[in-house]
Amino acid sequence: MAAVQVVNVQLPALPSGWSAEKDFKPVGALSGATQRNLEPVGPHFLAHARRKRHNRTFSEDDRLQAQQNVKKTEEESDGEISEDEDPMMLNREAKDWKSQDHYAVLGLSRYRWRATPEQIKRAHRKKVLRHHPDKKAASGHRDENDSFFKCIQIATELLLDPARRRQFDSVDEAADASAKGKFYKVWGPCFEAEGRFSIKQPVPQFGNEDSTQEEVENFYNFWYNFDSWRTFEYLDEDVPDDGESRDQKRHTEKKNANARRKRKNEDVARLRELVDEALAQDERIKKFRQQARAGKDAKRKAKEEEAQRLKDEKEAKKAAEEKAKKDAEEAAKAEREKNKKNKEAAKNAAKKNKRVLKGSVKEVNYFADGEASASQVDSVLNDVELIMGKIDVDELAALAEKLTIAGKDGAAVKAAYTSEAQRLVDAGKLKAGEVKVFA
C-alpha cells in the first residue's frame, strides 16, 4: 500500500542557522482524528483487519463503545416536523385544493415560506407514512376515503415546484404579519414577511431604536424601490380545458390576466401604503430629523461665530496697519525736519566757518606787511575761495578751528592753509599749482 510516489516539486533549501539534534526537530502535533466506519470490503480492508485483530479480542461492550463514537453518516429520522392535525383538515376534499393551506397539510405551518425543499420532502414522507390509504385500511377504516392523502400529494407537488410555490406563497395570507401594537416588535415581522416577495435578497432588517440613520434610510429606500416577484396566478379562475369552447377559454384567460394585473397593482399600492404608514410612525425618523436640525443649528452658530471672529480680526489688523502707517509718517516728518535743521545748522556753521576763513586771512592782513595791495588780496581770497569750494563741511569746521586757534598769527594761518591745500592736492581734489599763495 505504501508505493513510492514521485512528486515533481522542489524542496526548500536549508535556511542558514537551522540546527537540531540528529537533524530532527519536532515542532507540533497532529490535530485530532474523526472516528469513522471503514467499509469492511476489499482486499486492503481485509489486510487492515488482520493487522488490527492480530493482538486483540473484544467484547460486546467494546463494540457498543466503538459504534457510539462513529460520526453519523445516516441522519436520524426527523423529529422537527410534528404538528397536530386539525380534524377539520383531515376531512378536506382534494378537489378544493385551491383553498387548502398546503403548509398546514404537511405540518409545516410553523415554517411556511421559510421551509426548505428538503424539509418539505421529509414532511411529505412523514405524512405519507401516516396517511397512505393502505395504512387506513389496515387500521380498520374501510371507507376508501383517501382524500386527505390526495391533499398531501397536491400540497407536496405544488410546494416542490418553485414556480407554483411562489404563486401560492404570493397569496398565502397566513404568512402575513399585521402591523398593530408595539412598534418594532410588530413592524419587524411584518416587513420580514413582506420581504419574502423580494427578488433582491437579503432584505434589510427593520431594526430597532438603536439602528443607525444609514440603516434606517437604507431600509426605507429599499422598500420604496421594492421589486416583488409576487404573482396572482393562484387565484385564477380555472380555464376550461376541454378545447370545445375556445371563445370562453380566451375570455376566461383575459379575465384572469386582468384580475392578476389588478391584484398586482393593488398589492403594490398596499405595500406602498404600508411603508408610508411605517415611515409616518417611525420615531427614528423624527429622532434623526431632530438630530439633523440640532446639528444644523449648531453648525449655523459656529458659522456665525466664525464670521464674527474673522470680521474682528480684520478690523484689528486694519487698525494696526493704520497706526503703523501713521507712525511711519510722523517719524519720516520728524526726520525730515531734523534733517532740515541739521542742514541749516550745517549751512550756518559753514557760513560761519567760511566767514572765519575769510576773516582769518583778513585778520592777518592777507599775509602782507603793511597795507595789502588789491592783487595780493585778490590772490589770497581766490585761493581761500578755491579751498572753500573743494573742502567739505567737516574739514571746513576743522580748518576754521585751526584758524581760530592761529588767531592773528599770520604764519600759523598760512601754515594751516598750506597744509590744507597740500592735503587737498594729495587727495586729488586740487591740482598742484592751482593754489598760488598757499602752495
Binding site: A2, N8, L11, V27, L30, A49, D161
Partner: protein, 564 residues
C-alpha cells in the same frame, strides 16, 4: 443433483454476489480468469425484476412476473425489498400501488395473494417473499454455473437498519444461502471499478450516484489506500427511474386523450400497460435518439402507437433531472466538501443509463473529475451491474474465510478507525514562494504510511523537509470580461441550463500550511538528486518520519508521540 452431491456442497462453499434491489436484482460471480461477470437467468435477463407473481399455484419470477402486473396485479408482489424487516407503520406503500398491497401482519408486513391452486388467498409475509425471490436467484445462478450455490455476499443500501439486515440474513438462510457479508451498495460500486485488473490503488474522493427504479441514494466515499469510508449519504425515496417513466406515461397519455378523449391513466389496466411499455420506451431512449411505444387495446379497446424522440423527453424531464443533480450537489455539501474535491463520480443503477443525467453532472463538476457513466466514459461499466460485480468480488475474497473470521473482521472494533482530519504533507518552493503539497490526504484511516520522492534545488546542498498539516481553500477569481468562450461540451446540449451571459468564476483549489509538525534536514544532497520522505501515522496520531537522499545510505529519522 443427488443427495450425495448436496452433502459435498455443504463442505465446499460456493459463493456469488447478489445485488438485491427494490426494483431489480442481479447475480454475479468472479470467473476463473478473475473477471467479474453478471449471470443471466434462464430468460437471458441480467437485471432480474424483483417481482413474483402467482397464477393457479404457479410461481413466475422476473420479467415474466412483471408482465403479470397488467392482468394479475393483485397476485403479483413487487417493490418489497424496502418492506423487509420494517414495521407496518414505518413503510411507504406507494410503490406497491399497482401490485399486491402491503398489509399489517403481527409485527411485520405481509401480502394477501392467491399463491396456491386454491381460490382462498394466503397471507404471505415479506420475509417469505424475499426467501422465494432469493431462492429463484440462487437457482438461476446454480443452473448457469452448473454448481450448487450456497453462499453469497448481498448488497444493501447504506440506510439499512440492523433489523432489516437481520431479516435479510434470515430470509436468505431460509433460501439456502449462507450470507457471508452484507455490503453497502455504493461501496460495492466503487469496488467494481477498483477490482478491474487495470485499476491502480489511488487516494480519491468518489461520489456514487445510485439512481434506482424507485429510489435514489447518493454517497460520498473516500478511497484511501484501497480502503473505503463513507463520508456522507443522501437519499430520495421518491426519485428514480419511475419518475422518468411517469413523464413518458403522461406524455403519451395526453397524446391519447387528445385523439380519443379518454384517459388511459384512469383505468388501472391501462395505466399498468402504459407503465410497462413506457419503461421500455424510456430505456430505449437511453440508447437511441428515437423510441416507439405501441400498446394494443390501451383504453376503450383502441390500439395505440406513437414515437418520442430524446430531445423531447429531455425537455419534459428537465425538472426531474434537476432533482437528480440536486441530490448529488446536496451530498457533496453534506460531506462539507466542494465539487472541486471530487475525483470521480460513479453512476450506478438503472436510471444512470439516461445520457442527460451524466451530462448534467459533468456540468456540475470540474473537467478534472471523471464521470463514470456509459454516455460520458467509454470504459464505464454497465451501471446496472456495478453492485452485483462488487458483491461478487467481495464474495471471492471472503469465500475461504470461516464465518467467525468474517464476523470478527467486520466487527466495529475493527471497522471503527480514527481518520485524519487534515492532510499531512511537506512544504515546497516554487520560485520564491513556499507552498504545501499533500502527501497523506484527509479522511485517511489510521494507521497509514505514505512514501514520496521530491526534487531538491538544482545545485543540491542541504535541504529542509518541513512536515506540516495543510488545509485547502477554494480560491475564486472572477475573470475580466472577455469574448465568450463556450466549452465544446456545452454546445451540444445548450437547450437548457445555458447561462451564457454570466461570466463564470474560476474556482481552484489552493493548499496552505496550517500547522508545522516537524522539520528535518538532509545534508549534502547531490545536484539533481532526489529526497525520499516516508511518513507513518499511528492510530494514536503519533508520527514516524524518515527522510533520506535517494540512493543515499543514511536516513534522518524522528518520531512524534501521539496524544490519544
Amino acid at each position: 443433483m443427488g443427495d450425495a452431491n448436496g452433502v459435498a456442497a455443504e463442505a465446499e462453499r460456493f459463493a456469488i454476489g447478489i445485488s438485491f434491489g427494490n426494483t431489480s436484482s442481479s447475480i454475479a460471480r468472479i470467473s476463473p480468469e478473475g473477471k467479474a461477470e453478471v449471470i443471466a437467468n434462464e430468460e437471458g435477463d441480467r437485471q432480474i425484476p424483483s417481482i413474483l407473481s402467482y397464477i393457479d399455484g404457479e410461481e413466475y419470477h422476473g420479467t415474466q412476473a412483471k408482465a403479470q402486473l397488467i392482468r394479475n396485479s393483485s397476485n403479483t408482489v413487487a417493490y418489497f425489498r424496502d418492506y423487509l424487516g420494517k414495521e407496518f407503520k414505518s413503510i411507504d406503500p406507494t410503490p406497491a400501488h399497482a401490485s399486491a398491497h402491503p398489509q399489517q401482519s403481527e409485527s411485520t408486513v405481509a401480502f394477501t395473494i392467491r399463491d396456491t391452486a386454491s381460490e382462498k388467498p394466503n397471507t404471505v409475509t415479506v420475509s417469505e417473499i424475499t426467501t422465494r425471490h432469493l431462492r429463484r436467484l440462487k437457482q438461476s445462478a446454480s443452473d448457469f454455473l452448473g454448481k450448487q450455490v450456497n453462499a453469497a455476499v448481498i448488497t444493501v443500501p447504506t440506510d439499512f437498519t440492523d433489523a432489516q439486515r437481520e431479516a435479510l440474513v434470515a430470509a436468505a438462510k431460509e433460501a439456502g444461502i449462507d450470507v457471508l457479508q452484507l455490503i453497502h451498495e455504493p461501496v460495492a460500486a466503487v469496488m467494481a471499478y477498483d477490482a478491474r485488473p487495470e485499476a491502480t490503488v489511488t487516494d480519491k474522493l468518489v461520489v456514487v450516484a445510485d439512481l434506482g427504479g424507485t429510489r435514489s441514494d447518493v454517497a460520498v466515499v473516500a478511497c484511501r489506500g484501497g480502503m473505503y469510508t463513507i463520508l456522507a449519504t443522501a437519499h430520495d425515496y421518491e426519485l428514480g427511474g419511475a419518475s422518468l417513466d411517469q413523464i413518458i406515461i403522461d406524455h403519451f397519455a395526453k397524446e391519447f386523450v387528445k385523439k380519443h378523449k379518454t384517459d388511459p391513466r384512469e383505468d388501472a389496466r391501462g395505466l399498468a400497460k402504459l407503465k410497462l411499455e413506457g419503461e421500455g420506451t424510456r430505456k430505449a431512449l437511453s440508447l437511441s435518439a428515437n423510441a416507439q411505444l405501441s400498446i394494443e387495446s390501451l383504453a376503450a379497446g383502441i390500439d395505440y402507437g406513437s414515437t418520442i424522440n430524446r430531445t423531447r423527453f429531455e425537455l419534459l424531464s428537465s425538472k426531474v433531472f434537476a432533482q437528480f443533480t440536486g441530490l448529488i450537489e446536496q451530498v457533496v455539501k453534506k460531506a462539507e466538501l466542494d465539487v472541486l474535491d471530487i475525483d470521480e463520480v460513479i453512476f450506478s443503477g438503472g436510471a444512470s443509463h439516461t445520457p442527460k443525467i451524466a451530462q448534467l453532472a459533468q456540468n456540475i463538476f470540474p473537467e478534472t473529475t471523471t464521470i463514470l457513466a456509459p454516455s460520458t466514459n467509454l470504459s464505464a461499466i454497465n451501471p446496472s451491474e456495478l453492485a452485483a460485480r462488487g458483491a461478487a468480488f467481495q464474495a471471492s475474497l471472503v469465500q475461504e474465510f470461516d464465518h467467525e473470521d468474517v464476523e470478527q473482521s467486520i466487527h466495529p472494533m475493527v471497522t471503527v478507525t480514527p481518520h485524519l482530519t487534515k492532510a499531512i504533507g511537506v512544504e515546497f518552493t516554487s520560485g520564491s514562494e513556499t507552498s504545501f503539497q499533500p502527501l497523506i490526504a484527509s479522511e485517511t484511516a489510521l494507521p497509514a504510511r505514505r512514501i514520496a520522492q521530491y526534487s531538491v534545488p538544482k545545485e543540491g546542498g542541504d535541504v529542509l523537509v518541513r512536515v506540516c498539516e495543510g488545509s485547502r481553500d477554494i480560491k475564486v477569481t472572477k475573470p475580466e470580461p472577455k469574448p465568450k468562450q463556450e466549452k465544446p461540451a456545452d454546445d451540444e446540449d445548450s437547450d437548457f441550463s445555458d447561462d451564457e451571459d454570466e461570466d463564470e468564476e474560476i474556482r481552484e483549489i489552493v493548499w496552505k500550511t496550517e500547522k508545522p509538525v516537524a522539520e528535518l534536514a538532509v545534508k549534502g544532497v547531490k545536484a539533481g538528486g532526489k529526497v525520499e520522505v516516508m511518513v507513518h501515522v499511528n492510530p494514536d496520531l503519533g508520527l514516524q518520519i524518515a527522510v533520506r537522499e535517494v540512493g543515499g545510505q543514511t536516513a534522518v529519522r524522528g518520531a512524534i508521540n501521539g496524544s490519544a
